[in-house]
Symmetry: C2
Subunit: 417 residues, 2 copies
């Protein structure tokens, strides 16, 4: 069965706001074997919304209308969907009572406009919304001779997601013939998208029953594998078989076999090897520390570090010798190495990372252009330093620099001890 998601709200037609709930809904729908065939975004106008619902009824089996369920005049989803389906709305007494109770419990006066949230389409079931005032609705009906499932769900993510999971998914599962779907996500970094595709296409091409999607972005390549079979074991076997071959082909570029982030993988290895990390960041200005500490529990392996944006701090916090900076410049391999040594010794960590570079857009020279970043990684025995020429704007250069630093550490950790 296929689905159309209609996201309702004039704010979603501005340059500043975007529907993001549909990504979550798509993931949940795919997991029960429903594909999303169209997404429509429509503003708070009754004629536009009713028209969009009619169009969706002609081309999809399942309709999810998201948003427009609140108490204001702009909230028109109930009226518009009822109009398109040709059913009437009735005011539900128990919903009116629940609304009154909710307001009373908060010692707030309920204005009359709130009552429209108790209007239910003839033939619809009410979907309880514990996180907001507006309930959802589910209607399993016939339209133009075809069976249609139509859901009204609230727009705020904190209401939409739990309501969909708790109220809509069980109802969908009861209607849709059961299929078993196995999924895996592999991730690789420091390999280009076209190189990865050229390497992998012949492999996944031999598995037409496994849906393989390659996506590039955020300095990594993601491979999403999905396979549907009559038993979960059969689906898992096919996905794992293909995943094994892709992993082998990706070799050292692969960092995650189960969708983990690079930060998670690095922290996993640090704990496994009972090692700790400190960082000295110049051009990345805290981004590497921020990425690592975004993971809960990172304090077990990450001790901290220094933001040595100025030369003076490179000297004070990392013990870089002023002569070294004078001779090679702050953006140089010797300074990156000295930063990694210095921060490691000062903090007593197993590993030290030093990053220094030209993030741009200004500050580049012919000899040291924007995008030139030195990344050094050291432990008590070994030091390595990479010279990189990253492309893109300031944000991109800094992202690539932290990605490369994490990947250098990952590769080192795999072989450590």
């Amino acid at each position: 069965m296929n689905c159309e998601i209609i996201a309702v709200g004039s704010e979603l037609l501005t340059p500043w706001r975007q529907d993001t709930n549909s990504l979550f809904l798509t993931e949940e729908l795919n997991a029960v074997g429903v594909s999303v065939r169209f997404k429509t975004i429509v503003g708070d106008r009754r004629t536009d919304l009713a028209g969009a619902v009619r169009t969706a009824l002609t081309r999809a089996d399942i309709l999810i209308v998201m948003g427009g369920l609140g108490p204001t005049e702009d909230d028109l989803s109930r009226e518009s969907v009822a109009e398109a389906l040709g059913v009437t709305l009735r005011r539900d007494g128990s919903l009116v009572a629940a609304l009154s109770a909710r307001f009373a419990a908060r010692r707030m006066t309920m204005t009359d406009n709130n009552l429209k949230q108790a209007d239910v389409m003839e033939g619809a079931e009410v979907l309880v919304n514990p996180n907001g005032t507006a309930p959802g609705q589910w209607i399993d009906t016939e339209w133009d001779g075809f069976r249609k499932l139509v859901m009204l769900i609230p727009g705020p993510p904190g209401e939409c997601r739990p309501l969909f999971e708790e109220q809509c998914l069980p109802r969908l599962r009861a209607v849709i013939p059961e299929r078993h779907i196995a999924r895996r996500t592999l991730k690789a970094t420091m390999i280009g998208e076209s190189a990865a595709d050229a390497l992998l296409a012949p492999i996944y091409g031999a598995y037409p029953d496994v849906e393989t999607t390659i996506l590039a972005g955020n300095c990594e390549i993601q491979l999403h594998l999905a396979c549907a079979k009559t038993t979960l074991e059969a689906a898992k076997a096919r996905v794992d078989d293909l995943a094994g071959k892709l992993e082998e082909a990706l070799d050292e570029y692969l960092f995650a076999s189960q969708g983990e982030t690079l930060e998670q993988i690095v922290l996993f290895y640090l704990e496994l090897k009972q090692a700790t990390l400190s960082v000295a960041e110049s051009c990345t200005g805290g981004m590497l520390g921020e990425r690592i500490t975004s993971i809960a529990g990172s304090s077990r392996s990450f001790v901290g570090g220094a933001l040595v944006y100025s030369d003076a701090l490179k000297i004070a916090f990392c013990g870089v010798e002023p002569e070294l900076i004078a001779e090679h410049g702050a953006v140089s391999a010797p300074v990156a190495e000295a930063m990694s040594h210095g921060i490691r010794r000062r903090t007593g960590a197993t590993f030290g990372i030093g990053i220094t570079g030209v993030a741009g857009p200004g500050g580049g020279t012919e000899e040291k252009p924007v995008g030139l970043v030195y990344i050094a990684l050291s432990d008590a025995q070994n030091t390595e330093c990479s010279e990189n020429n990253f492309r893109g704007d300031r944000q991109k250069v800094r992202q690539w620099a932290t990605q490369k630093a994490l990947d250098m550490l990952r590769r080192r950790l795999i072989q450590y001890r």
Copy 2:
């Protein structure tokens, strides 16, 4: 005139990808007085795409079909739009020659499938695409008795954006009656959305000719003002008049009058007051430094700092006395203050910021729950420390902590010297 944007591509119907070009297009369209009335996302199926185009023709004056212009079998926008409009495609000889030349210049063989990129709808103008192989198309036509402007533009952002600006906008401006639109964006922080709306609604309600949109997110409130008049002066006067009243009402909560980021404002004041900043971050782990250094030129005011995730580093890098940590705990006002003093003295900066807290999800106690964050700001004379209970997940707590720290500094800087 109103517009429908159709984003084409099966990847846009997965849980991992989302159309983002439409935000940029919406901004550009609004600026010439065109509102976006619908957005449709459709996969690479000819029947679905042709159907979506027919639906759009019934409800919008301007159609932008984005993506599906490449050389592969999945690229079906030309064929589908031609079918919906009822026009034929002809192969354009000069486009074939340009394609051949492009491949020859790169010493690549042009496979036959590339030729379809030279197919042009009868009556359409070719939109030159210097950044890719697939040109766009523009057709000014009649459909069912109404004038319709239909554009085919490539999907990759690096091709879509320049092509739209250079090829589509001038053609649109020539067709659309000229209107002058003035815009302003105000931003405030540390005030809730409903409190802001209650405060501001009576003010902007008196300016029905200025479109006011209030958006909350990323720890701030944005107010977008737009007004269209026959002269730019008249439009600007209305927007500035309303902006002045809103600014006055927002008072100390307002941080930006022209859409600036909080980081930009803080760096602006630091330079203006010839002051410098250093930071000592515990639970934010580099996020504050990362935010500040995301702005080009931040090195003029930001000297750096320390990531003092462990107690040992709080002592080593900030000179926090071990007894202070033993007595009050690492998450406490005295330790935050000592961190801000220590980092300021060590770095010689005008201002020092110290942040220590419980970001969660683990590590909270009854006495010191998740979300408790102390933020201290000091200069040579004064120290202030705020105790905060931020709500939300780890990422949200850390975002709020850095936002509050920047806002404390902004408020201090306004009065400094």
